[in-house]
């Protein structure tokens, strides 16, 4: 490993993108992620990067579409209301099978909501926020170090599968500072981009990037191809952390910064003789269904803790498939659950399950 720095999450995303070879960034300002743009605006001129402060989120995601079609590594970032505006573009990116990295530093909604941390965009991110049948890979880091590593990896995954990859953090992750250790050199996977529009040079058939297929049979073929690709990604790209799950009385599921609070709660519960495990999905899609299945009959019950009104808990229930009760605890509006609140919930479930 190389340089070790104390940095803010949003700046780490920008730095990681640069290290991953991203030289195109298009975005529109919105709190709490705008430092990504500030960092890029400052750094890009000296490394030959192109940054455009677009007229809207809609324009920004379509610039991403164009740059990706042209074969570049490209990124945009925003926060919840802006991500809603990008859904049109994300659906087209999925249909045209373009690689792109999208950062969502989630704030609380609905509507204009507030600027404080939230995980309220889980459904939008993993269930396909735009129209049609499609998926994005969704990465949910819980520390600044992981934010760095997953941002670099996001570009590789995007190129590997010609797919949009979303890095989903909450406002806390974007705004907090932690030490991050950068590698001296990044693993940048070489990708075949012979499909990109680069000009034919009169040497090949023209390339066409499109998502419209009027012939139903052809469009069904595209959908079948997309679904086959998604099945492969489900097999190969699941990332999950499990902690203390063997012999657990209760297994908590949490992602992002919430998982860090839960880890403290696990130590507090241990002192009371309650063994609590944690399953932390790092990829929200593909969801670590197999991990939940594996541990489905270990604890007396599951508890999903989230910064929303109950979203990931649905996927936990699907994975646990009725083998155990799956409880939920969450806060909304930018409120963060305290360790005590979570511990109280665990105590209650523990008591009821005996």
């Amino acid at each position: 490993m190389g340089e070790k720095l104390l940095m803010k999450g949003n700046e780490v995303i920008a730095e990681a993108a640069i290290r991953a070879g991203c030289r195109y960034y298009f975005g529109y300002p919105i709190t709490p992620q705008t430092e990504i743009m500030h960092y890029i605006a400052k750094k890009f001129p000296s490394i030959g990067g192109t940054f455009i402060q677009a007229e809207s989120e809609v324009a920004a995601i379509n610039m991403v579409y164009g740059a990706a079609a042209a074969g570049a590594r490209v990124m945009t970032s925003s926060s919840s209301p802006g991500i809603s505006l990008k859904q049109e573009g994300l659906s087209y990116i999925a249909g045209a099978e373009l690689p792109a990295v999208i950062v969502n530093i989630v704030r609380c909604g609905p509507g204009l909501g507030g600027i404080l941390p939230s995980q309220g965009d889980y459904f939008q991110a993993v269930k396909g926020g735009g129209h049609g049948d499609y998926k994005m890979v969704v990465l949910a880091p819980s520390s600044i170090q992981e934010l760095y590593e997953l941002t670099v990896e996001a570009f590789n995954i995007a190129d590997r599968y010609r797919i949009a990859v979303m890095i989903m953090g909450d406002g806390t992750l974007g705004q907090m500072m932690e030490t991050v250790e950068f590698r001296d050199r990044e693993e940048i996977e070489e990708a075949d981009k012979s499909w990109a529009v680069t000009g034919t040079r009169m040497e090949r058939e023209h390339n066409v990037i499109t998502s419209i297929y009027i012939d139903p049979e052809v469009l069904e073929d595209l959908n079948n191809r997309l679904q086959a690709k998604y099945r492969i990604i489900e097999q190969r790209e699941v990332r999950v952390e499990t902690y203390n799950c063997d012999g657990a009385d209760i297994i908590v599921s949490a992602f992002g910064t919430v998982a860090r609070i839960v880890k403290n709660v696990i130590r507090m519960a241990e002192k009371e003789g309650i063994r609590v495990g944690l399953i932390r999905p790092i990829t929200l899609w593909p969801f670590p269904t197999e991990t939940f299945r594996k541990y489905a009959e270990v604890p007396a019950a599951f508890l999903s803790v989230e910064l929303n009104a109950g979203q990931m808990v649905e996927d936990v229930r699907l994975a646990v498939n009725g083998k155990r009760e799956v409880y939920f605890y969450g806060r909304t509006g930018g409120m963060i659950p305290t360790q005590k609140e979570i511990l109280d919930k665990i105590r209650e479930i523990y008591k009821n399950s005996r």
Partner: protein, 248 residues
């Protein structure tokens, strides 16, 4: 024997899907002729719109990208910024450019993106079957203005060239018509100049082509050309709005 007329190389040998009398075919051909004459087919990337010309990527031999409704200038921006040495054009209708894509065209033009926009203005939505366009004339009957466009209810027709030419980044703006041979030749000259302006790195260029939609106007092709002359040309002044004397 000398060949005096043939299909431009930049246009694929494929029957067009447009309605009889539609002038899209003429404009496609002119764009292709210009690409041929400038010898840029191998370095040109086009962006297709949403509307009747959504699949014109099937007709042009150069690389093509299909864009979401109205977003072609943003998509073209992304392409051109990655490949500044390539020639990038968008081909957009009046609904695409002047309604849903107003923000994208204004800001691409204002940033002076070195792209060329071919803007087809036929005063109506074609593909969705004849609804009011931003450029629909006062009194014009459409499927969504069955009693004629009334400014007090529907607002006024938008003059795109006049608007775009006020922007600093737009360096070549011209309105032309394909109502007759003379004007078709003039249209080709304007399109060629617009591409040359881009190739010279001057800034954003736009050619608005007054066109017909016989099907949705409810006229035969010949009547449609006459309607264009009699009704559109008086409101949409033909001519250059910016960059007439630009050296390229």
């Amino acid at each position: 024997m000398a060949i005096v007329f043939q299909r431009p190389h930049a246009l694929k040998e494929k029957p067009l899907h447009y309605c009889p009398g539609c002038t899209h075919g003429i404009v496609h051909r002119l764009v292709a002729e210009v690409i041929d004459e400038l010898g840029i087919e191998g370095i040109t990337i086009g962006v297709s719109p949403v509307g009747c010309a959504y699949n014109n990527y099937e007709y042009f031999e150069c690389d093509m990208v299909q864009a979401a409704h109205g977003r072609a200038p943003a998509v073209a921006t992304g392409i051109k910024r990655v490949h500044p040495d390539k020639v990038v054009f968008t081909y957009q209708g009046d609904g695409d450019l002047a309604a849903i894509g107003t923000a994208e065209i204004i800001h691409a033009a204002n940033r002076g993106e070195k792209i060329t926009t071919i803007f087809i203005n036929n005063a109506i939505y074609g593909m969705t079957s004849g609804q009011m366009a931003p450029t629909t004339l006062e009194g014009q009957v459409t499927t969504t203005t069955p009693f004629g466009r009334k400014p007090e209810l529907h607002g006024y027709p938008v003059r795109v060239c006049e608007m775009i030419s006020t922007l600093g980044g737009a360096v070549f703006v011209e309105r032309v018509s394909v109502c007759d041979i003379k004007n078709i030749n003039n249209t080709k000259r304007a399109i060629k100049k617009a591409f040359q302006v881009q190739m010279a790195g001057k800034g954003f260029s736009l050619v608005e082509v007054l066109s017909t939609c016989p099907t949705n106007w409810g006229l035969d092709p010949v009547e449609a050309l006459q309607w264009l002359k009699d009704n559109m040309e008086p409101f949409y002044r033909l001519g250059n709005f910016k960059g007439k004397d630009l050296e390229v």
